[in-house]
């Protein structure tokens, strides 16, 4: 991966000037490169990873992984049915997999009932959906390379040869 992308993938808020200092390129060069990545869709979006367990919200928040078995359609295979499914805003991620089932969805809702309702009233009745298995997420340990448990730091002595 390009070094600029690598740096941004770890810290999306770092400025072009700082990236320039870290890579030995000019600020102008970095700005242009980032623009290009944004334009051709290599950089899709800048997001924040939030640990929802620590957010004080009035409503709660649940997340489920849902395995979906599908009958593929003539000519379009899985793509068209996948599109029908991922267009629901409740579906935050959608993957086509090899193996025992076809689609893996990440679905978010305020509580178990909202998610269950989505599965019962929207997902399962779809014509090409042959079956679903819903797994509710109990705890998030690590996401996108980020470990959520606070890492103990500073085990080194403050000075040494």
């Amino acid at each position: 991966m390009d070094e600029i992308l690598e740096i941004l993938s770890k810290d999306a808020r770092i400025s072009a000037g700082e990236i320039a200092k870290l890579t030995g390129k000019t600020e102008d060069f970095v700005k242009k490169a980032v623009k290009k990545y944004e334009k051709n869709g290599i950089i899709v979006k800048y997001k924040t990873i939030i640990n929802h367990d620590l957010v004080n919200t009035t409503g709660s928040f649940v997340r489920a992984l849902i395995e979906v078995n599908i009958t593929p359609q003539k000519d379009v295979g899985f793509d068209s049915i996948a599109e029908r499914i991922y267009s629901f805003p409740e579906v935050t991620s959608c993957y086509l997999l090899s193996g025992a089932y076809d689609l893996l969805l990440v679905v978010e809702g305020e509580n178990i009932h909202t998610v269950a309702n989505f599965v019962a009233s929207k997902l399962s009745p779809m014509e090409n959906v042959r079956g679903t298995t819903t797994h509710f997420l109990l705890k998030k340990y690590k996401e996108d390379g980020q470990i959520f448990k606070k890492q103990p730091g500073g085990k080194r002595l403050n000075i040494s040869y």
């Binding site: 200092k21 870290l22 890579t23 030995g24 080194r156 002595l157 403050n158 000075i159 040494s160 040869y161």
Partner: protein, 384 residues
């Protein structure tokens, strides 16, 4: 009865810097750029292997020379990485870090009064290990003008009667200086001409940024002249495991093993197990860490020059060695004042020999955020 300390030990240069170190260690909320070890924790697959080996019950002594399997891995690695051939049975010894290896080497080769060339600024143990072994250090001063590199003519000039060996460390702690293949060839010729034994500490080899690292022992005709030292501490962030190795002529390695077996017996088995895993599967982690260090290197050199501390671009390790000449302070005064007033710790250059006076060692084995904050504080300090 009062117990008297040996004259030799009493006369060892007292580390005047010890008091400064104690001051740093006793202070809270210090941003430290004074650390001589990686800020990464050992990669998980290596730690996991160490834990697993304990669970499996590997808690015994190993062969004095280190586990044969590890020595084979080292031989394989050196062949693959640098095209060097060492016999794992006779020419490789696993040590408790490079530090132990250096001490063994001096005791194995020196007779009283033998002279050893030591470039300075240098790692703090070089001079003491020569003195403890009864040798006489001959200091070669490297300067900013030469990028803190030893020149062949310096070696030629210093090679009077009685000079038996020379030490070299590249990439260098504390200056970060390293040598290209051509520069090393010139040094190798000088060493061969004067039949010097070369003690080459290459523990930072994987952290070389601008050109490929070349081991001195890999140069034509040098294998018999060189004791090649390396270890796991810096490349694999394994300082606490205390595992290093030395390769050299069988006769010298056998002599070193003799001392090692009486004093150390063997390197700890858990560390050796972890080291084997590092060589087998650790290369990717090394490259990741190197990339990160290189970014910080570019940042810190640029930032220090920007705030007015002259800083040359080092080719390796994770240190920069800027001049503090414009402050008019000694390196110790600078370090103490910066610590007291701005709570930034670094190591005074004087700790690395007289040639280091007027400079400070800054370690960029620290997070980018820390480096930025520290540079800001140094800037404030300079403004006063």
């Amino acid at each position: 009865m009062t117990m008297e300390i040996s004259k030799k030990v009493e006369q060892l240069a007292p580390s005047g810097i010890r008091a400064f170190f104690d001051l740093v260690l006793g202070m809270k909320d210090v941003i430290s750029l004074g650390v001589g070890e990686p800020d990464f924790v050992t990669p998980w697959h290596i730690r996991e292997k160490a834990i697993f080996s304990l669970e499996e019950g590997f808690t015994s002594y190993t062969s004095n020379k280190g586990m044969l399997e590890l020595r084979r891995q080292i031989a394989h690695f050196l062949g693959h990485r640098y095209g060097m051939t060492y016999d794992p049975e006779e020419e490789i010894l696993v040590t408790v870090g490079v530090s132990e290896g250096l001490d063994l080497a001096m005791r194995a080769i020196l007779n009283p009064g033998d002279k050893v060339l030591i470039p300075e600024p240098s790692y703090v143990s070089y001079r003491p290990v020569v003195e403890l072994a009864g040798g006489t250090p001959v200091i070669l001063t490297t300067t900013l003008e030469n990028g803190f590199k030893l020149t062949p003519s310096q070696i030629e000039k210093a090679c009077h009667k009685g000079v038996k060996a020379m030490m070299i460390n590249y990439p260098c702690n504390p200056t970060g200086a390293s040598y290209t293949k051509e520069e090393l060839q010139a040094i190798a010729r000088a060493a061969q001409r004067h039949n010097l034994f070369v003690i080459s500490d290459e523990v930072y080899d994987e952290l070389t940024y601008d050109f490929p690292h070349t081991p001195l022992a890999s140069l034509r005709g040098m294998k018999d002249h060189v004791l090649y030292f390396n270890g796991f501490s810096k490349a694999y962030a394994m300082t606490g495991f205390r595992i290093g190795w030395v390769c050299g002529p069988a006769k010298v390695v056998a002599a070193m093993t003799k001392i090692h077996q009486y004093t150390m017996l063997c390197a700890p088995i858990t560390g050796q197990m972890a080291a084997e895993e590092a060589l087998k599967n650790g290369f990717k982690s090394v490259q990741e860490m190197k990339k990160e260090y290189n970014r910080r290197r570019r940042y810190i050199v640029g930032a220090l020059n920007e705030i007015g501390l002259d800083c040359h671009m080092p080719q390796g390790a994770f240190y920069v060695f800027p001049s503090i000449g414009r402050t008019g302070e000694t390196s110790m005064a600078f370090a103490q004042n910066l610590l007291k007033k701005k709570k930034v710790a670094l190591v005074p250059g004087g700790a690395f020999g007289a040639a280091g006076e007027g400079y400070v060692r800054i370690s960029y084995a620290s997070s980018y955020e820390n480096l930025k904050e520290a540079v800001g504080r140094i800037k404030d300090y300079l403004k006063r």
